[in-house]
Amino acid sequence: MGDTAILAEDLVKTFGGKVRALEGVSLRVEQGTVLGLLGPNGAGKTTVVNILTTLLRPDSGRAEVAGIDVLSHPSAVRRSIGLAGQFAAVDDVLTGAENLTLVGRLNHLSKAQARTRATELLGRFGLAEAGDRAAKTYSGGMRRRLDLAAALVARPLVLFLDEPTTGLDPRSRIELWEVIEDLVREGTTLLLTTQYLEEADRLADRITVVDHGRVIAEGTSSELKARMGGAVIEVRLADPNGARAAHRALGGVGDGEVSRQGEVVQVPATDGTAVLSEVVRRLDAAHLTARGLQLREPSLDDVFLALTGHDATSGAEPDAADPVRAAGDAPSSSGQSDTLVNDSSGGRA
């Protein structure tokens, strides 16, 4: 067991005396590992990060970062952490180099040290040529890289990334993932929040799933997937109406309840191939043509749906691109999810 880099115990936070943002969140991150804090918008992820990075005081509970108590020594904590936020917090009038130098100065590096560090980081994040241009001329991906570089200026022991790729196009997202993977290889302890299951799956050693201010599951990606039981058969129809018909036609197939999201019908199938042929027969009998049919391992998406009763991205801003898949229509997905919850408990080995 390594040392604990981040520890949170029973964090409770209420906004405006009414909105319960956190209802007792606990988590622990070992040094040199990556924790993915996964949840939909409004789940409380950013509130957890804000408390751990001293931006916000919890109503109750305690937290330590790099062994330092967040509530009693906030400025010592600020010397040990780096934070890159959801809203790329760079000054867009200043150049990339000036941004990093300023952050270096405010981290109390000398002028020369701050400049050297800025040059180093610009080179590392592929911004060397853009370093003397105003940040407002940067693309979305470049801004995020600059923001990430700013979080690393003081060589933090613990790094917090709050939805680092939200709103990025797929190509920039993958570029940023590669940068983050490099950091992780060097042993940086990282707490990453995301609403993208794929991102948590790819970057995180362990995943904590939060919803409505509570931790609802915790484990490695494969542990969480194992909770879903066996494989899933996914039938994609031309439209939601076709999917409704297929949903009726496939009732009782497999070893759990069939669910529907948008134009996709999902059939839990521990005994994959046998169920698959039954699915094909039933669709044929109902004169339904599937656009796509696949037998696959359960994804984190399935886990999320099973755990939270809604899919991972419902409630996300409309402009946030979803790299995993187009979100199903929220009402029907939440309507269907109850059956999945029952089903997954039955399907557990």
């Binding site: 040094q31 400025s75 040990s80 934070l83 917090a89 000054d91 009038v93 300023l102």
Partner: protein, 286 residues
């Protein structure tokens, strides 16, 4: 369990000097440098700050000036310049709130709050750079004033008046900083500037003697802080040349020292009140 992290913690706590005064000053300078750099990169903002005092001087001197009398023999330009000066620095005070709201909106404040810098430097740097901007505005105003006939009687008094105005503007700009952080939208701060600054500058002794106003307005116009500061500046600039009649009718009957002390009291009161509220607001930003 954690010998290493404890050691690191101790080290970090030992190095916890972010609250020292020396660091606060350095952080403030770093932030002020950043703000001034931004200002230089966007000359249109500087232009507005410099052009508006010129316009106001010309407008009042040549459009209204001829119709304004009752100045006990005081030349209207000499009466007017301290008034425009206060108006100039008050409008610039709005910039403080505008800029902070912009930083908040763009997420820059979010980054600053996660750094081990002195918190006061966010405001300190802001008001420092805005004071530089204000001083520039006053110099342009003075130059314009000289061209259209402004002649101060007391040069050291003129310098003191300038400093008094800059201090007053600094205190007021903390009020705008609070508005900026509360509404957190640059447009909303802009919208809030006019309803506050216009009544305070026009219902004052800035452009016309208070005694020409209706009775119900005179009480407010004589004693509100903007008038007190204008009268103090006017009194400093007139120096010994102020006649008893001018002092009684134009300066609220008070002597220079008393006006300056009253101005400083208002300045410190406003500054401390809003300084405390700003720091508290900053700490509780979400």
């Amino acid at each position: 369990m954690t010998t290493m992290t404890r050691a690191q913690a101790r080290e970090a706590q030992d190095a916890d000097h972010g609250s020292g005064l020396g660091w606060a000053v350095r952080d403030t300078l770093a932030m002020a440098g950043r703000n001034l750099r931004r200002l230089l990169r966007r000359p249109e903002q500087v232009m507005f700050n410099l052009v508006s005092p010129i316009m106001f001087v010309l407008l009042f001197r040549y459009v209204f000036g001829g119709a304004i009398g009752g100045l006990q023999g005081l030349n209207y330009v000499n009466y007017l310049i301290p008034g425009i000066a206060v108006q100039t620095v008050l409008f610039s005070a709005g910039v403080t709130g505008f800029a902070l709201a912009d930083d908040l909106q763009k997420g820059f404040i979010y980054r600053l709050r996660s750094l081990p810098m002195a918190r006061s430097a966010v405001f300190g740097g802001r008001v420092a750079s805005d004071t530089v901007n204000n001083a520039l505005g006053l110099l342009v105003l003075l130059a314009t004033g000289f061209v259209v006939g402004f002649r101060p009687s007391d040069l050291p008094g003129l310098v003191l008046a300038g400093l008094l105005l800059l201090l007053f503007a600094l205190a007021v700009s903390l009020g705008y900083a609070l508005i900026g952080m509360t509404v957190s939208s640059a447009e909303a701060v802009n919208a809030a500037t006019f309803p506050i600054i216009f009544p305070l500058t026009f219902a004052s002794s800035a452009f016309v003697p208070v005694e020409t106003m209706p009775d119900w307005l005179q009480g407010f116009a004589t004693h509100q802080p903007v008038s007190v500061v204008i009268n103090a500046a006017r009194s400093l600039i007139l120096g010994d040349t102020a006649t008893d009649a001018q002092r009684t009718l134009l300066l609220g009957g008070a002597d220079t020292a008393s006006l300056v002390w009253q101005s400083l009291a208002w300045t410190v009161g406003i500054g401390v009140l809003f300084g405390v509220l700003c720091t508290r607001k900053y700490r509780n930003l979400t």
